[in-house]
Symmetry: C2
Subunit: 448 residues, 2 copies
């Protein structure tokens, strides 16, 4: 294969792949926390437009991508599939390594794949403003950009420790007219509650979600948008894996034996792996490796249980791997991976033994990021560096000789240079979460 | 045409186009400042490897691109040609607008096109270390990356005002093992001279070049590299225009009627326009518009004369448009355009009436950058925003109805968000340089 494979626009997917009907053990339904019974979809109408609610629950395997959405995705899609030849040489890889470069979007990650779709559906349903949360800032920027394209207002609650680490993510959102508030804030009841107990709280995605949902629920022309976790978000991200499959064919390379992605809420990982699920179920020898930070080990040390998506308990209960919605992860530098829960789809695939979860420490991931930058040039997002580290580990195993490994380069690190500075200055620390701390957080799991 | 045209790697140029033999009025030779006579190429051997000296003087129209260079360029090349449909709609353009997206390189601009070639030739000539200057940081990052790829050391003198505006450009260079020193510095005689007279000097490319050349001249295993201005740099950048020509054919679009680029030293502009020069000389109705900042109006208000490339007078004399090598431009936010001189090739094309120079103020360029970000998504480098502004001006003219305009998006602005913040806060100022100031600077032009 050549260094890169581009698809032409005419080869872009025209339908998203909905994995839900193919999950062997099925998906358990979201529950209404008040009754403990399956949620009436109408309850979601306060914060989501109908087409997204339908997608969230859909049992159709393929869902059409609106032309208006694909027209915008064409600004940067199809994204390149690249052979990491220079990385292979630098580490002495036994395997052939490829990456899907999702960093090429204007916002710098895979997130706009869903942001554009979500804003489109909100727009056609008459919504004027969307409120959201962001960790590393990748989702907040993507939603700001998408709202700007469709003429909607955008309000972003940004996890405070990321807000402070990444001042220029905020600038970027402002370039796209997004309004940004560090979370926890005094603009919501949920935020004020947190600040009362802990004025120096670094924030978390769970807290920021509570703030955003609270605002959206209060205003009829305002909706909420989530950048990961939910089924419809993973649905939109399947363009990644669908494109990759075609690119391996065009590039005359076999389909990957191992697919690796980082897992925060699960959307970039889900997007690249689920289009390969049917192949695996049909007997293909293919492994899916989901990589999370040791400081927030949802899949490897969490519980598979019904839990809230946010700190304040405003969301429906989702059956997922979770550390408990009261868990506030340490302020690691992969802000996009600091989430107590996990996509129900990815969680179900772990439950069914189809996805292998792995937890890695941040310093070894920054080391891998540096190896990647010095071989392939691109400076990866700290989140994506988790996938790179896991890829390098697999690439050096004898058993993976002659295998093809694909990882998702979910974003670039241009707005994460403070974190790189700290890593190079030896100021980054790894966190070994004690068992009792996780046990304490799990005490808050809702009793059903 | 579709939104984007990708070339396959097999369609990448295998030769650079050397415009020198095609310049109607010819190029005047560089002079030895000591004798005022044409420079003996051997004098350049103290700081440049032989293959680059040959390219600098070559009269061959086509020069082979080494495979080792193209293998690295393939990490991001061929770069996409994109139809700016959403920009056209937003401004009500009469013309069809395209941009060549050079921001897709890992360093974020067109600069690696030459950095990779220059480091390759230095490497095969046994050089261990390269010293350079950088303004906005685009060139310094590109050279750091290229040195990292080929295993050479890299030392970068970064113009102090940019160093302070862009802390993360330095971090990026360090990720690629580059060492960065703010200029003027006390590490060189040239730097100490400047600091003695003006301890708060914001620096300039001319000063930083002096510092870098001084170090390179003192060490036999150390060479100098320049990111623009020189003929061999423009040669390497012709891949931009050569690719674009093929992309218009593949995209079933006519070749552009107007080509626009920003001009600092002239390399991105030269790279996109000179492959079209023969067409223009053969009668094609095509305009080349070079856009410079009003605060550093080399082409529009400078002299066409022999001058030094640097402040201290260490370089050969080049026949070019210049404001005088003692001119220190105001600290505008397009650091890459703050250079007193201009590529001799671009200067000769202006002399011959083949390139139209235009000067624009920085605020109108940031406004154009914002329009671009809000329509096409990409946040452009402040340098590139000059090309965008000029493109918008042309696109709105009745006379350009149905015309095709191509501009070079030379880089992204991910490391320029401080400048965007200042623009949005209303803190940016335009500079109207008084005539007497320019006249005073011109007094320092060498007498021959």
């Amino acid at each position: 294969m050549s260094k890169k494979v581009f698809l032409q626009e005419s080869e872009m997917p025209t339908q998203w792949y909905n994995v839900i009907p193919d999950i062997p053990g099925g998906l358990e339904p979201p529950l209404d926390p008040a009754t403990g019974k399956p949620l009436d979809p109408k309850m979601l109408q306060a914060i989501f437009p109908d087409p997204l609610i339908e997608q969230e629950m859909s049992d159709k395997s393929w869902i059409d991508i609106p032309d208006e959405v694909n027209e915008i995705l064409k600004i940067w899609r199809p994204s390149p599939l690249v052979r990491a030849t220079r990385l292979e040489q630098m580490i002495g890889s036994k395997a052939r390594i490829y990456y899907k470069n999702e960093a090429v979007s204007p916002a710098g990650s895979h997130k706009p794949n869903s942001a554009v779709a979500q804003v489109y559906y909100n727009k056609i349903c008459g919504i004027k403003k969307i409120v959201t949360e962001t960790g590393a800032g990748q989702w907040g920027s993507s939603l700001s950009m998408a709202c700007c394209f469709f003429g909607l207002e955008c309000l972003v609650y940004m996890v405070k420790c990321s807000y402070e680490q990444k001042p220029f993510r905020r600038s970027m959102m402002q370039a796209w007219k997004g309004e940004v508030i560090p979370s926890p804030s005094d603009t919501t009841e949920s935020g004020r509650d947190v600040l009362k107990n802990d004025p120096d709280c670094p924030g978390s995605l769970g807290i920021a979600i509570s703030e955003a949902v609270e605002i959206a629920a209060q205003n009829s022309d305002t909706n909420y948008a989530l950048g990961s976790v939910l089924n419809h978000v993973l649905l939109h991200q399947t363009v990644i894996g669908l494109e990759a499959k075609k690119q391996f064919v065009i590039g005359n390379e076999k389909q990957p034996d191992i697919i690796v992605g980082c897992c925060g809420g699960g959307s970039n990982f889900g997007g690249i792996v689920v289009p390969y699920l049917r192949d695996k179920l049909d007997g293909a020898d293919i492994r899916f490796i989901g990589v999370e930070p040791s400081a927030c080990p949802t899949l490897t040390r969490g519980h598979f249980a019904y839990d809230f998506g946010d700190l304040a308990g405003l969301t429906p209960l989702l059956k997922m791997h979770t550390l408990g919605s009261k868990f506030v992860p340490p302020g690691i530098h992969a802000g996009g991976l600091r989430y107590h829960g996990m996509s129900p789809i990815v969680s179900a695939l772990v439950r069914d033994g189809l996805v292998e979860p792995v937890a890695l420490h941040q310093k070894e991931c920054f080391e891998a990021a540096t190896i990647f930058a010095r071989s392939e040039g691109i400076i990866p997002a700290p989140e994506s560096s988790h996938a790179i580290r896991a890829t390098i580990i697999e690439a050096l195993k004898d058993e993976n000789k002659d295998k093809v490994i694909l990882f998702n380069l979910s974003g670039h690190g241009h707005f994460d240079m403070t974190s790189y500075d700290k890593y190079y200055a030896g100021e980054l620390h790894d966190y070994n979460l004690p068992e009792h701390e996780l046990a304490k957080a799990a005490e808050h799991l809702p009793k059903l």
